[in-house]
Symmetry: C2
Subunit: 461 residues, 2 copies
């Protein structure tokens, strides 16, 4: 049983962070009752109080109170998550990291940026670019905050070459469930000192502690890049090209597949035309390299490989402005579908199984009479299927959703590639991976015995 | 208290794996009483029995007996470790994976190799090369086995560009302390389904379960590579070049620093001459790229950068045979020092701190009158200092060793970059990181409540 948030505790919180950084007003707390997941009306939940600390020490003080009083505490970044991970389903305290928004250091010798949890990714991009450096991970919504992208192990389209957040976190500062502040990792490239607590916190969705600071790995920006749009007569052909591309020794920054049925709604929304010929499916490939010349050579090589593997044609997009236009177009798919969408799914399968997976969703789409437009990361097998709000969707939603996930699992996949388990996939995790859930529960109990840290996410205790 | 290994249990083990795969003979068990760590006489310990299962099911049966009888069980690969991780300090069962030596599948579409735990790295290299593929991680001793390099999160010289083992493990099969067989991960590139059990087992040194199979990520081999040997008047100058090199946007495969004092003993041992001019310090740089021409361009660019940053000269080694000769020379440093060496240390510091660290070890070398030749991975800050058996070393060893580790910690470093904690660094981990050790202990207790899995390694319970 959790403790109750009394007026005395609210006063105590105000003394820590200042009166204006504590709110119990329902109106002001609305923003903190949900994340970006569609259907949020169904899963939104109000906290009892929202607290906005300005420093790690303040976070620690707040957690000590939650620990003492056994009050649930749900950390929150920008709220851009897609699985309900920051919804305070047991009420209690929402601890928003929005005020901890300082970039502390850009270390040009060790290629790291140290930032507080509330810094937005777009701010990181901008700050490091000014120093001639580059932060590769690029999740869909760059207004996401550092703490959030660390604890959800965010991915994005550039994971093919550069990897996901996990590969770019060198160190964290974390406030443990008893309020103790711990630094894990640092500016180190290699660290083998026992169990990787760093990797345990990455992807823990705030259930083991509150990440207050991150030390992220930077790189030099690739001198040259180039985009290819490659149309195919079928998705199957497009997917078949992927291993052939990777076998050339070129690892693209991103290697996305697009089915034509997302192009129409996007054109409508953006009032812009898809700039190349229309076909059933496309690969959108971005490559980078050390020189302009080399990147053109790579472009020619990949064009050849794609044509050999059934592409209709290949269009080189070599001007920066045209590339950006296309990236914007790609970025808008989700927005274009969102209006009429019940949920964006996040299944990840072995890359060779993408076509089989998408064909399976087409059968399900016919069976249920619900459209399921799909796009995703062909290079890494992370496929975003959208369940649309077609007629009668409410009655079919649960059964259809489950069948799609079962399809992914049957192909050697996982229920989430980059959005996390949160609240909305907790049931599947338990159903498909009962023994792993047991191990995760034992870890959660060991590290947060009172179950106050973002309770009810990933696993139930 | 642990249970006793009775003759009845030995018979039971024989029924599982066959009589010839169980031994209790002291002579035959000698090989299983230590690893490669120098000073092994001090830390070697005999098991009560060595068992060699031929399949995961047999491993599971053996672990079930250990679980039932509360007998310690120490998994063992090739025994090439350098921190005593596979020494059965509480006796009991050594479970050697040497018979589980099959490469199960090379998947050319998903770029993975699936191998049993007892396959040697050199066998992986050879098998994937035949398929035109490439496995980048390259720890010093390629006779190491797949299971061992996974559970120690092995590193090696190629980590600068490609990362350590952790970055190349897609999935594992593991036998848990209760004997249950679990598959974690798979051929997936992205997986966010809860706490990363995969990353918890990677680097767990056999203390949480026995890894019986690994699914490892492969790549296409880089079409062209080139080596540079760059002499400097001081190590400080050499280290100063490193961020300048990385800022060009080129990430070398490997970027090693060498001090001249390891060259002499290596020349003596190999009867070969160091092929370029002698100087105080060197960088050995290997780069790869998509074409012969591009790799030459990169070589010229890096030469320029090194000269600008104080290099005396730069020698391009562009023939394959000469490159191999030099790599062999580099590989032999450890062997050359080994004869007269007490221990190879494995401290990892932020890359910018390497020079400061090495200068610190020079002061300690003078203070103690013990030579401390050093080489290491300049690109990733993992520095191998060797404590030599100079006169009177026995009395000075403990104090000197501790001061070196304190130096590393004071520079933001960690006690082990790639060799693991095992037995020989357990005391330092507890001393330098008491709170983390508490968290690790709570995880160990949660996952192995009877403490039968490789007890006494990483942390004590």
């Amino acid at each position: 049983m959790y403790g109750k948030l009394t007026p005395e505790i609210v006063d105590e919180l105000k003394r820590i962070v200042g009166e204006k950084n504590v709110t119990v007003s329902k109106d002001e707390m609305e923003d903190y009752s949900h994340d970006e997941v569609a259907m949020s009306e169904r899963i939104k939940h109000y906290p009892d109080v929202v607290v906005k600390p300005g420093s790690t020490e303040e976070v620690s003080e707040i957690v000590k109170i939650a620990h003492r009083e056994k009050i649930p505490i749900t950390p929150r970044g920008a709220g851009t998550g897609l699985s309900g991970g920051c919804v305070p389903i047991y009420g209690g305290i929402v601890l928003s990291l929005e005020r901890m928004n300082r970039i502390i250091e850009i270390d040009e010798e060790n290629f790291t940026v140290t930032a507080e949890a509330g810094v937005r990714l777009m701010e990181i991009f901008e700050a490091v670019e000014k120093k001639g450096l580059f932060f590769p991970p690029h999740p869909g919504d760059t207004s996401a905050m550092v703490g959030g992208v660390i604890v959800t192990n965010a991915g994005g389209a550039r994971a093919v070459k550069y990897g996901v957040m996990r590969n770019f976190v060198r160190g964290i500062e974390v406030v443990l469930p008893d309020g103790e502040i711990m630094e894990i990792g640092g500016k180190l490239v290699k660290d083998c000192a026992g169990y990787s607590l760093l990797d345990l916190f990455i992807g823990s969705e705030g259930t083991l502690g509150i990440v207050t600071k991150g030390i992220l790995k930077l790189m030099a920006p690739p001198p040259s890049s180039l985009m290819l749009i490659v149309p195919y007569n079928s998705l199957h052909d497009a997917i078949k090209s992927v291993p052939a591309i990777l076998k050339t020794g070129v690892i693209p920054i991103s290697l996305e597949f697009i089915e034509d049925d997302v192009i129409g709604p996007t054109e409508e929304l953006t009032k812009k035309k898809w700039p190349v010929m229309r076909a059933k499916a496309y690969l959108m490939i971005i490559v980078d390299s050390t020189s302009e010349e080399e990147v053109m050579n790579i472009g020619m090589k990949l064009t050849e490989v794609c044509i050999e593997n059934g592409a209709i044609d290949a269009f080189v997009i070599d001007t920066r402005s045209k590339q950006e236009e296309l990236l914007e177009f790609r970025g808008i798919f989700y927005e274009a579908l969102k209006e009429n969408m019940a949920e964006i799914l996040d299944i990840s399968v072995p890359p060779s199984k993408i076509a089989e997976y998408v064909e399976g969703t087409k059968r399900l789409s016919e069976k249920y009479g619900i459209s399921l437009p799909t796009y995703g990361h062909a290079g890494d097998g992370n496929v975003h299927t959208h369940i649309m709000k077609d007629e009668g969707w409410e009655e079919k939603y649960e059964a259809l959703r489950k069948e799609i996930h079962e399809l992914g699992i049957s192909l050697g996949g996982t229920i989430t590639g980059e959005h996390g388990v949160g609240l909305t996939k907790k049931g599947y995790l338990k159903e498909f991976e009962p023994k792993k859930v047991e191990l995760m529960r034992s870890i959660k109990r060991a590290m947060d015995p009172d179950n106050i840290m973002n309770p009810g996410k990933i696993v139930d205790i």
